[in-house]
């Protein structure tokens, strides 16, 4: 029985972890392209979830239409953030851009509370709230569906990044902006595209999580969970981000299991990933901002 419970926590951890990985990937995408640490990542999720919820509940659109509308909205929003807010800062110190993303996070939190209120809301049931029997474990259908959506998004992203011309241009820009530009790659376009894709995939994740857990400001906490995930996986590595996300998801659930069964401290799961983060940063203190940039004249 205990072992069953442990297995259930591990499976839950894997499912949540894939979603963390997806969000972490969005974060790494922006970091890789432009070296900007995006503190507003969680708000991109929250925005997607609220817009979709608003379109379904307040406007009355069918779910699929609201979903597509939200994705389109997110792409436009991502490009707008890059072009209107960040592009004028090109040439300014990187820390200015990073602080602006902190500002964006506060701004979006506030404006979403203003528009949609502070009370958590839930989507009308889109998927059966039933549970399926997965190798002897009871798992919610909605969880599995969200995991499937996340996996499809990850696969699509991997294909885009590795096989498409724009993906190639993005990889080139991530490696060296000057060289990419000398080959005709528009670095500005690549930055805008990085934000667009990041916002799009984040909104998908936000909607999926919103379907399962309901929509509330707490969703943005996913943006914070991303930090242990990407630092575990290495800030520059997309695969690393996904693996890091899964590890954080499992770690969290294991912490909850240990807490619930033995320690009874309460809420250990929220902080466990950060203990790991602190431990890693003690070993690799230059992890986060330690980029070196040497330029020859």
């Amino acid at each position: 029985m205990q072992l069953d419970l442990l297995a259930l926590f591990v499976v839950n951890g894997l499912i949540v972890g894939v979603l963390y990985g997806l969000v972490a990937m969005c974060f790494v995408l922006i970091y890789k392209a432009s070296r900007v640490v995006n503190f507003a990542q969680g708000e991109l999720l929250l925005l997607g979830a609220w817009v979709c919820w608003g379109a379904v509940v307040q406007v009355g659109l069918p779910f699929w239409a609201a979903f597509l509308l939200t994705l389109a909205f997110s792409v436009v929003l991502g490009i707008l953030i890059q072009v209107v807010v960040l592009r004028p800062l090109i040439g300014e110190p990187l820390i200015s851009m990073i602080m602006v993303t902190v500002g964006l996070s506060v701004f979006f939190q506030a404006i979403l509370k203003w528009i949609f209120g502070v009370a958590p809301q839930s989507f009308p049931p889109v998927l059966d709230a039933q549970k399926v029997n997965l190798a002897g474990l009871e798992v919610e259908v909605a969880y599995l569906a969200s995991c499937a959506v996340a996996l499809v998004a990850l696969a699509g992203f991997a294909l885009f990044f590795n096989r498409s011309k724009l993906g190639l241009a993005m990889r080139a820009t991530a490696f060296n902006q000057q060289v990419a530009a000398s080959l005709g790659v528009s670095v500005r376009q690549v930055f805008a595209m990085a934000w667009a894709i990041s916002a799009l995939v984040s909104a998908m994740a936000g909607i999926v999580i919103g379907l399962v857990n309901g929509v509330s400001a707490g969703l943005a906490a996913f943006g914070i969970k991303v930090f242990p995930a990407v630092i575990l996986g290495g800030l520059d590595s997309i695969v690393g981000a996904v693996v890091g996300g899964i590890i954080v998801g499992v770690l969290e659930n294991l912490a909850e299991y240990v807490d619930g069964q033995f320690l009874h401290w309460g809420n250990l799961y929220t902080i466990a990933p950060f203990y790991v983060l602190v431990a890693i940063l003690m070993v690799k203190p230059y992890g986060l901002f330690g980029t070196k940039d040497i330029e020859r004249l």
Partner: protein
């Protein structure tokens, strides 16, 4: 050679916080020509190349490419006009294969847009890619890098990486190719290879070449014309013969030959 002027720099000056890297440099590059820029270390050769490629904005002066002002265009736009370059320090995308490195150079020539590029295997992207591969194969043939096309660039030897960088610059189908010390750090055999490739690109493909090079033997053999910079000023401009005989060049350049070697 009375071909038309492909690139013209008028009165180019460039300063870094009071340090003048270039002072009122004017020059012309004619279509089909192989022009070398020489001068002691710190003379402003790479700075001039960077002004042409768009990495630096001159503080004074204007640049014309094909009679059109390009001073305000960003690097990528100049590349799309046909100005390619290689870098003094190797600048390959180290984690990509040789083929992917070269394909980045094809990026701006691909018509397939974002969506169809994303849905690579559905639209015309694959057909388009086959066409581009054919052109890429020509470049690979010329530079004799068939055997390493699927190798990861970062794992290659120095000489091979220099060749791949040249291939990548050629992939954008340049009209003007800027080479920053293409032969630095090479042995005699490797230098002869690179010299042959550069001549072929220049003669057979008709690509105009502007090259910074320290090896005087190479410069005198390959160049149609030579420009000499010293302390950011142009002190001579002429055929290799004229440059070799110029007293001013000897004083400025050969006088500090130890530094230049």
């Amino acid at each position: 050679m009375s071909a038309k002027v492909l690139l013209e720099g008028r009165d180019i000056s460039l300063g870094f916080r009071g340090v003048k890297a270039l002072r009122h440099v004017s020059f012309e590059v004619r279509e089909g020509e192989l022009l070398s820029i020489i001068g002691p270390n710190g003379a402003g050769k790479t700075s001039l190349l960077n002004c042409i490629s768009g990495r630096y904005r001159p503080s004074e002066g204007e640049l014309f490419f094909d009679s059109r002002p390009i001073g305000s265009l960003p690097t990528a736009a100049r590349a799309r006009l046909g100005i390619a370059r290689t870098f003094q320090n190797l600048a390959l995308f180290a984690h990509m294969t040789v083929l992917d490195n070269i394909m980045v150079g094809r990026h701006h020539l691909l018509k397939t847009g974002f969506l169809r590029g994303g849905l690579y295997w559905l639209g015309g992207a694959q057909r388009e890619e086959i066409e581009h591969r054919r052109r890429v194969e020509e470049i690979i043939d010329l530079l004799e890098i068939e055997h390493i096309r699927h190798a990861v660039a970062g794992t290659l030897s120095y000489g091979l990486r220099k060749r791949v960088e040249l291939a990548r610059a050629l992939a954008i189908e340049p009209r003007l190719l800027l080479l920053d010390e293409p032969m630095a750090g090479m042995n005699l055999e490797e230098k002869e290879d690179i010299a042959r490739y550069i001549m072929e690109v220049n003669d057979e493909w008709g690509v105009t070449v502007v090259m910074i090079e320290h090896d005087m033997g190479v410069v005198m053999d390959l160049s149609d014309r030579v420009i000499v910079l010293n302390y950011g000023e142009k002190i001579a401009d002429g055929t290799p013969q004229e440059i070799a005989e110029s007293a001013e060049v000897r004083a400025a350049y050969l006088g500090s030959a130890d530094a230049a070697a």
